[in-house]
Amino acid sequence: MQRIGVFVCWCGSNIAGTVDVHAVAEALKTESGVVFSTDYQYMCSQAGQDIIKNAIHEHSLTGIVVCSCSPRMHEATFRKTAAAAGLNPYMVEIANIREQCSWIHKDMLSGTEKAIILGKAAVAKVNLNAPLTPGQSTVTKRALVIGGGIAGIQTALDIADAGFPVDIVEKKPTIGGKMAQLDKTFPTLDCAACILTPKMVDAAQNENIRIYSYSEVTEVGGYVGNFDVTIKRKARYVKEDICTGCGLCTEKCPQKKVPNEFNLGMDNRRAIYIPFAQAVPKVATIDADYCTMLKTGKCGVCAKVCTAGAIDYNAKDEFVKEKYGAIVVATGYNPISMEKFDEFAYSQSKDVITSLEFERLTNAAGPTSGKLLRPSDGEHPHKIVFVQCVGSRCENCAEKGKEYCSKICCMYTAKHAMLIRDKYPDTDVYVFYIDVRTPGKAFDEFYRRAVEEYGVHYIKGMVGKVVPEGKKLLVQASDLINGKQLHIDADLVVLAAAIEPDKSARPLATMLTASMDTNDFFTEAHPKLRPVESPTAGVFLSGCCQGPKDIPETVSQASAAASKVIGLLVKDHLTGNPCIAQSNELMCNGCSSCERVCPYGAITYEEKEFRMPDRTTKLRRVASVNPAVCQGCGACTVACPSGAMDLNGFKNNQIMAEVDAICKM
């Protein structure tokens, strides 16, 4: 039996004005378990708190009901008061008789009546309260960043700067991501490599950063502060620690016809390759799909020319197991396939290209050494048409495109158009747009410069059909402002392809039990207030894996994610919320209903031995809640068919008791 003290606050006249506080205190005196009841002007004041503390001592109280303002206001205060007097803070309940009573009711009679009922409900609940102690768990002081693009690199650098070790796992042979493929960056037009490659080098040289390139995460277990991660290090057939990156092998390899993915297949590389000159780590990788030695056992040229002896044809995939306190997802994006948009003749003509291909075409390190030449015949194009929103804002064609705006295309297209006009003033540039969206710092000014200073023809309307004929691309489009259908004989057509999350994101989300939206972007814990955290504790989001973003936005989010990780890693222990789900193992039948509704993946199953009434033991499958991961929403408690799952602090019988007290029948 509890010994409950009731403390009714006047809140000056805020409560006492419409609620007869003495009557409330008197009425609650007779409730079951109540041994003390009083009222006071300001219960939250020092004097008020002292009344509570003294009463706890004098009356050996085991539970407290404060009838006052909203628990959102002073629950924490009164819990501290109780704790200071040696009472478990979770033995305190608040009856909200201000916001939900005195402030909204005008007459004393009904206000008092309601306040008494609210007080009774709180007393009924406290009668069933039990002391709760928040769980504690340790924190592994190492972070994992999945993805080595600009988002991952920035996050890793920031975490490492704060003194914590970080591992970057990158599936490609080098870090750098999409940004490494770009030529210039908007709106300042500084070269992407000039600002990215120093960061790549920083990452490589930072003693707190370890780079697992050509690697993938294959398994994630554990929870916030204590993740167990398995990383597959794919066989690159070159010993990373021995290879000096001299590149001799990549010059001598006889297999010359491998499409170079770094240049989006617009030129070829060898079967052994270093993706680009500033690759980090700068070591060669053998492409097993094309290597003659690996396929037929005959060749071995690279091993012969390698003076360091780094080639190892017998290499196998290796699996590394690591422990991490926090995980950052930075898996990035890809342009969507243009296969289903053949009204633009992408599959029919080499001179219809995507914007990313255009980046390589104007990049000094690209297949044309930075000269803008038509892929089909190497001639200089004099008329170029850009098509915006190819596959973006596409509602009807879910299987072709994306419903969302890809956000970056308006700006990079303005950049491309401007760069062409700057370098080749004899070239006419047309941009077909639906809307020009430039809401960023110095963005609209940038776009206007393309129009006003560089003379780019911006035309409101879409392209309907591109017809390759002879050396020309006949572009049929609408000009909505002038009410015309235009026919332009272009030399090059550039498609602003929508971007989508990397394909690796979906399986990764499953491993992390992190949630995703229908477009496979990771969802954030709160769209406005917790934009870099995933709802899964200890998992953070950086860059385009969360939604389309340009470089400035990506970098800010990367740093924000890093600061959240640092905030987690500086802690030695994590204190949980004790109001979490708890399973009664004797009642649990192991059906998995709770596991399926848990948004955090906090529930797992284990086989446990139970002593049966007949003294035999039996192995049963029962649910087990991870206290470090559970956030206490209670979804599982309702899903549980046997009633085994309950929520501490909001137990079934507590809520029922409140219902009964209110219904007073």
Binding site: H105, C633, V638
Partner: protein, 145 residues
């Protein structure tokens, strides 16, 4: 002889801690009145509300039960209110089958900023329940004291 009193319904309102309870607090801060018949029970999330709680309320003589949660997509626990929506539509069709008038139950999404909506919803709900009169059908007479 006892006077025939004006019917005052008993209304139980379950409010999630993050949105609707805060919305109710805001209604209070703004002094937006709604009938004293409404008594709020705080739950962490609308998905914590077991349909059993609602049945219990009706058994114990509640005349109406309203459940408030965050707007779809805004749930503090990301998906809780979707479960609520599904569970309650099941429960309501069962209550319908039992002959409990549809207007005695309601699910409403109220955000922490919607104090006015909270008050308006409660006013409207109480009005409808009052019009229906006392709940007799599910009342468990064994509970009567």
């Amino acid at each position: 002889m006892q006077d025939v009193k004006e019917f005052k319904p008993v209304i139980v309102a379950f409010c999630c801690n993050w949105c609707s309870y805060a919305g109710a607090d805001l209604a209070g801060s703004n002094r937006l009145a709604y009938p004293a018949d409404v008594k709020i029970i705080r739950v962490p999330c609308s998905c914590r509300v077991n349909p059993m709680f609602i049945l219990r309320a009706f058994q114990r003589g509640a005349d109406g039960v309203i459940l408030c949660g965050c707007h779809p997509g805004d749930c503090h626990y990301s998906t809780g209110n979707y479960y609520t929506r599904r569970r309650m539509s099941m429960l309501f069709s069962m209550l319908d089958f039992l002959g409990i008038e549809r207007d005695r139950t309601r699910v409403e999404w109220v955000s922490a900023a919607e104090g006015a909506k909270f008050a308006a919803t409660m006013n409207e709900f109480v009005e409808k329940v009052t019009a229906l009169g006392p709940n007799k059908r599910l009342e468990d007479l064994r509970c009567k004291q």
